[in-house]
């Protein structure tokens, strides 16, 4: 009844299933929507658990002490590992689901976004380039019509306690500290969503020239 020892064969069907799950999971993981990513992670988790079972070798009898001779038992350790990973993946799926729900209530969508600060840095670079009149680095996608303002405006729009914008009379003079004044003044939040729109476009000498910075609202999602 039992196959001869060491006659271990990988089941082709299982291998194909595992490979398919890995591919689909990886594809979904690369999407923007959190729910797609979530499904991708679930698929990857399944793939991993099946892989763990596969590496246990040929199947055998349940590994209950004293029921059958040890050489007829299946290897229990990968099963233990798979069980552990099922528990962990399950818990984390739940956590990601609640996170997606929270993101949906707070942001109105569940999109995983680029970092806000990265956009500020990009905007700063664009502004400096506009001042200097040439590009430091080639930008295939210049100008970014929405990118720098999108997240910030979106976030502010849903914030319950929006703080009043500070008065910025004389701020530029104040800002010229011991640091070199150019980089200091051209800080990305001197223009844009934290100030009245007209102000950001008009008085701010650094913000007026570049693309997208005087834009008052941006996309509200």
């Amino acid at each position: 009844m039992t196959p001869p020892p060491n006659h271990a064969v990988l089941n082709l069907t299982s291998v194909v299933v595992v490979a398919g799950l890995y591919s689909a999971g990886t594809f979904l993981l690369l999407q923007r929507g959190l729910l797609r990513i979530l499904v991708g992670i679930v698929l990857l988790g399944h793939a991993t658990n099946l892989l763990l079972l596969l590496v246990g070798g040929r199947s055998g009898r349940p590994a209950m002490s004293g029921s059958v001779p040890p050489d007829q038992m299946s290897d229990p350790l990968p099963q233990g590992m798979a069980l552990t990973s099922i528990v962990i993946t399950f818990a984390l799926t739940t956590f990601l689901l609640t996170l997606a729900y929270r993101a949906w209530t707070l942001l109105g969508n569940t999109e995983v976004r680029d970092d806000v600060e990265d956009h500020r840095i990009t905007a700063l670079e664009e502004r400096l380039e506009a001042q200097a009149g040439f590009h430091f680095f080639p930008h295939p996608s210049l100008p970014h019509p929405h990118a720098p303002r999108l997240h910030r405006a979106d976030r502010d729009g849903h914030r319950p306690h929006q703080q009043p914008a500070p008065d910025n009379a004389g701020r530029d003079a104040d800002d010229a500290g011991p640091d070199n004044a150019g980089a200091d003044n051209a800080g990305p939040d001197n223009a844009g969503a934290d100030e009245p729109a007209s102000d950001g476009a008009g008085t701010d000498e650094s913000g007026s020239g570049s693309s997208g910075d005087g834009r008052p609202g941006g996309d509200q999602g």
């Binding site: 988790g45 590496v55 939040d189």
Partner: protein, 561 residues
Amino acid sequence: MTVPAALAVLPVVGPMLAAGGTLLLRFHVRAQRVLALAVVAAVVADAAVLLAAADSGGPTVAHLGGWPPPIGITLVADRLAALLLLTSAVVTLAVLGYAVGQGVVDERTGGNSMIFHACYLTLVAGVALAYLTADLFNLFVAFEIMLVSSYVLITLDTTAQRVQAGMTYVIVSLTSSLLFLTVLAMVYAATGTVSLAGLAATVPGLPPALRAALGLLVLVVFGIKAAVVPLHFWLPDSYPTAPAPITAVLAALLTKVGVYAIVRTHTLVFPHDGTWPLLLCAAVATLLVGALGALAQEDLNRVLSFLLVSHIGFMLFGLSLFTVVGLAGVILYMVHHIVVQATLFLASGLVTRYAGTSLPRRTGGLATVVPVVAALFAVPALSLSGVPPLSGFVAKLALLQAGSQAGAASGPDAGAYRAGVYVAVAAMLVTSLLTLYVMARVWVIAFWRRPRPARPDPDPEDSLEVGTATMSRPMVAATTGLVAAGLVFPGLAGPLSGLATRAAADLLTPSAYEHAVLRDQPGRPTDGHGAAGRLAPSTRRTTGNSDPAGNGGTAGNGGTP
């Protein structure tokens, strides 16, 4: 000197039980704080005892559940694990003190502290387990305990921004965890064991290509957790948004646990003879990319996050040499960096609380207003840059010495190695200089200007801490304590570097580790069939082994409160 094996279990079990205790005490915030502080203090004392025992009488070994080593999970407190455990425990104690101080003055965190203390203690338990475990699968469980706690901590007090940062963090960490599981499956398929001592015995028998592939996969998995360039993108996006004490503990410990895992696996299981060029390249890239990234940042916490990435490169450099001197440098650097990075983030938290912004440009000269904070920030900043006589100088000097030694080595193709090592040494020096520049710039802008009212950030990274302008005495005291701990380091540089050298020598003789783990077990650790024994379960362990599953249950229940 030998100590009871239970002492090696206490750093894991103590905080875990206390985490449950704080949940029971959820309506008694003061009792929670006392319990948490007491338990973490006990872990500090325990780690000190373990370190003394490991240095004088060899590792303390605990077999969980009484299962003998090839089957059960073993906890081993050797010199490296005990030293890092002690450092981490000191830092977690100080950060907990800071958090308690913050909670005392700030009722807004009071509502969440029932979860906060539980998560924090689970995090401490996970970190301790990661250091102590001698089993690759158990290391996965330790990482999960740690990460799940950090997921909750990072998204605590959910604001829109934290949810966004949390998403990136959770998805990246989860991906690396699944990759870790995949690697585990492959390692088990190749060797039939997941205990580190067993792997140290069986992996050398594998075909070189398979061994290299597994080693690379393990490097990628831990490289994500340690934020090694090019796997670092998640870190500066996610850490700065969390409250100061949480950022401090995550930044100080989580990446270093990743580095520790790289060190442990690549010395014990996948050792290299001589320099490893790939890791050397990764080290140089990490050093430069992190430092240049920090140059471009404005926000204080983001500057610190990029510098954190950058300084991971120092540790990778020391490891890539695979010499005793290099590894001793890595160990010294880890100890230094854990303390200093936590101090910097706490000091940055003080600035944020006082000024209402973490943008140095907006604070206005704080040096005369709050000179204490200015000093508390300056000392670790100089230490991180490697200014003598602070701890960073000692650690960097050790690494530079290791580099010059390796550069002087001769061998068949020594020329290329020598050039690579000298490039890396140059990158380290440039990075130190850039760190000094970035830190000096931040300090001058934030503190050393004419005093004036700060302009609170209308769109702060950390909106919950803004506008309080309060610093309680415990917060300042905790930060001062960490600064003092950083100052003790160069004073003890002699004994510490001796200890680090002994620990590094242990790392490069894996047989010592195997013997320690398998002390009670005459005979070979596993069947040792290697590739030939693949997929032949009859030759593997045949007893029912419930330990991994049992631990996983703990992870699932304890880690997701």
